[in-house]
């Protein structure tokens, strides 16, 4: 639908350029530059209040930065219309809730909003996109269930399905595993990893973060490290940013690396 800009394969699909954001005079994001590569899963980690959510909202264009800009496919985000952005970029915010008595299908169908004009009815391709999104998150058989009957994990799956119904190239997720039990966390992370789009995921659990292709570490609104998980999560960074020390253990079941944390005794 939108004219495809000329992009080379290695150009970042989404790029933060020297972003700065102040809320009520307080700097929340400072001088932050971050390239997101096509089809990678980029984990965004950092302690509470380090600006992960704000960065995701800036990347999604939901809030405008005070300084710098976001490039989507090489084009400044603020030069595109809201609808054009929403066709390429979807945001799954932290535990968005509603009091409305909607069904799973209604919630997912909202994802078609950027593709439809005010009075245009749903066409076959829209229902197909909804169906595919429901299939992708494994909620197709619950399509007529009421929103309020769903568990936290199921609601999060429906939010992801709504984002997928936007048919975006980039998916931004803000702590998708918050408040979920361990089974739901693991299956949700497996689902997110399997999605064939570019993903930027804010995460709390550093062991979950190990499964990302790259990690961006934030501290007090700044990007302090960027790279492959095993390179980034070294002892110095864990001590400086997260104020923990860690032992890397190997799970004998499958040989994967696991971190076990202890609070820094000195502070």
């Amino acid at each position: 639908m939108t004219a495809a800009p000329l992009v080379t394969a290695d150009q970042p699909v989404l790029q933060a350029c020297a972003l700065g954001l102040r809320l009520q005079g307080r700097p929340v994001v400072e001088q932050l530059s971050l390239p997101v590569q096509r089809h990678e899963m980029l984990g965004l980690i950092g302690p509470n209040g380090s600006g992960k959510s704000s960065l995701l909202r800036l990347l999604a264009g939901v809030i405008r930065p005070n300084e710098g800009q976001v490039l989507l496919q090489g084009q400044p985000l603020h030069k595109r219309g809201r609808r054009a952005i929403a066709r390429e970029l979807a945001l799954v915010a932290q535990m968005a809730e509603t009091q409305d008595a909607i069904s799973v299908e209604d919630a997912v169908a909202l994802g078609r909003t950027p593709w439809l004009s005010a009075l245009q009815p749903f066409a076959a391709q829209d229902w197909e996109a909804v169906q595919q999104a429901l299939d992708a998150v494994g909620m197709a058989d619950r399509r007529h269930s009421a929103w309020h009957s769903l568990s936290g994990g199921e609601r999060q799956r429906v939010h992801i399905a709504r984002a997928l119904a936007q048919q975006p190239g980039v998916l931004l997720l803000d702590e998708p595993c918050n408040h979920l039990d361990i089974h739901q966390q693991l299956s949700l992370m497996a689902l997110i990893r399997s999605l064939p789009v570019t993903k930027v995921v804010a995460l709390h659990d550093l062991n979950q973060a190990l499964a990302c292709d790259r990690l961006a570490v934030m501290q007090q609104g700044r990007l302090v490290a960027l790279g492959r998980p095993e390179q980034v999560l070294d002892a110095a960074l864990l001590a400086q940013v997260f104020r923990v020390e860690a032992s890397a253990l190997v799970d004998p079941w499958d040989g994967s690396r696991v971190l076990r944390f202890r609070p820094l005794s000195s502070s």
Partner: protein, 356 residues
């Protein structure tokens, strides 16, 4: 196209028929209630007489009818029924807009103090003479409504987290706003108004359809239809607010513009209705919730259904207000409040349960 969607979606085939049936039913109900609104009253008129008058006036027929009956139908009851229908529709649609945009099940022009602000604005223009005739009562009511809404929104925002979305805060702020503006209205009328105007205070506080004429009908109908059309153009955007304004923005909705246009529309509808019939409460609360039970939460169906049900409801409330006590006309706001207050309580209990 129908066949293509039907396989992917079994209910898709049923829905258009469903919709058409609802539209037809709603239109019939509206016509029937207008007819009944005309026929029922102090002087009961037969439906055939009502139809004959309408045929004389609208279709140029020449039935011989006693001019008094003709006058009652054409000059009193028909405009009254039409104003009731317009006000009911306008207030119900305002309620839908406020509930959707503020993400608050209890949002409604009357409870948020918007109606009270509109009363104060209208009274300032008519009684005190602000604007020296240059601005009409309706314009005064519009600015009063905007002031009240701004005040209540600021108060709710300042009162803490959740701001406009927090049911408790905004209803409390609305109570404060209503009380303040109702007190101002009383003060202005008592201080500046004549004895007759002082008696008219009941009109502003409780609402009344007594004395509406054709020009009022034209104004209220135009505003209600404009507001309804504006809202119908934004049904998809209103749906996108289901998970809040940030989620709507992420879905590509121009949030600020939609909020501005629709909140102004709600304020305008409320202001016009209040300047013509006074502050009628709870219509914007009861009707959208009843409509949701019938047609669901999708605004494509909810908005027209609310408008229709609001129209029918207020005509019925007007008939009741004229007939409940023989020889006396109750303020219509008394009827709507008698229905609305219990509904308010039910919604409060329900939303508490959902959160818990």
């Amino acid at each position: 196209m129908m066949e293509a969607t039907a396989s992917a979606r079994p209910s898709a085939l049923r829905r258009p028929l469903h919709g058409a049936a609802w539209c037809l039913g709603a239109a019939l109900a509206l016509l029937l209630s207008v007819a009944l609104g005309i026929a029922i009253g102090e002087t009961a008129l037969s439906p055939s007489l009502v139809l004959q008058v309408l045929a004389n006036k609208l279709a140029g027929a020449h039935y011989a009818i006693d001019p008094i009956s003709q006058g009652i139908v054409w000059n009193y009851r028909l405009p009254r029924a039409l104003v009731a229908a317009s006000c009911g529709a306008g207030l119900a649609v305002s309620g839908v807009i406020l509930q959707s945009l503020l993400r608050n099940a209890l949002a409604e022009p009357y409870l948020l103090g918007i109606s009270a602000g509109a009363s104060t604005g209208a009274v300032l223009v008519t009684v005190v003479g602000i604007g020296a005739g240059a601005i009409s009562m309706t314009v005064g009511a519009f600015f009063g409504a905007l002031c009240a809404f701004a005040l209540v929104a600021l108060l709710a925002h300042a009162a803490g987290s959740g701001g406009l979305r927090n049911s408790g805060q905004i209803v409390l702020a609305g109570i404060a706003g209503s009380q303040l503006f109702n007190a101002l209205t009383s003060l202005i009328i008592t201080k500046s108004g004549s004895a007759e105007q002082a008696r008219g205070i009941m009109f502003w506080l409780l609402g009344s359809l007594s004395g509406v004429r054709w020009p009022d009908t034209v104004l209220t109908a135009c505003i209600a239809i404009t507001g309804l059309l504006l809202c119908l153009l934004h049904t998809r955007a209103l749906d996108a607010f289901t998970f809040g304004s940030e989620s709507a923005a992420a879905l590509g909705v121009p949030v600020r513009r939609v909020q501005l246009v629709l909140l102004l529309a709600a304020a305008l509808m409320t202001a016009v209705m209040v300047s013509i019939v006074g502050a009628i409460g709870f219509v914007g609360l009861v009707i959208p919730h009843a409509a949701r039970m019938l047609v669901g939460v999708s605004h494509r169906r909810l908005v027209p259904a609310s408008a229709m049900m609001g129209a029918v409801f207020l005509i019925a409330a007007d008939v009741l207000s004229r007939t409940l006590i023989r020889g006396q006309v109750l303020p219509i706001g008394v009827i709507t409040a008698l229905v609305g207050a219990p509904v308010f309580a039910v919604i409060l209990l329900q939303s508490q349960r959902r959160r818990g």
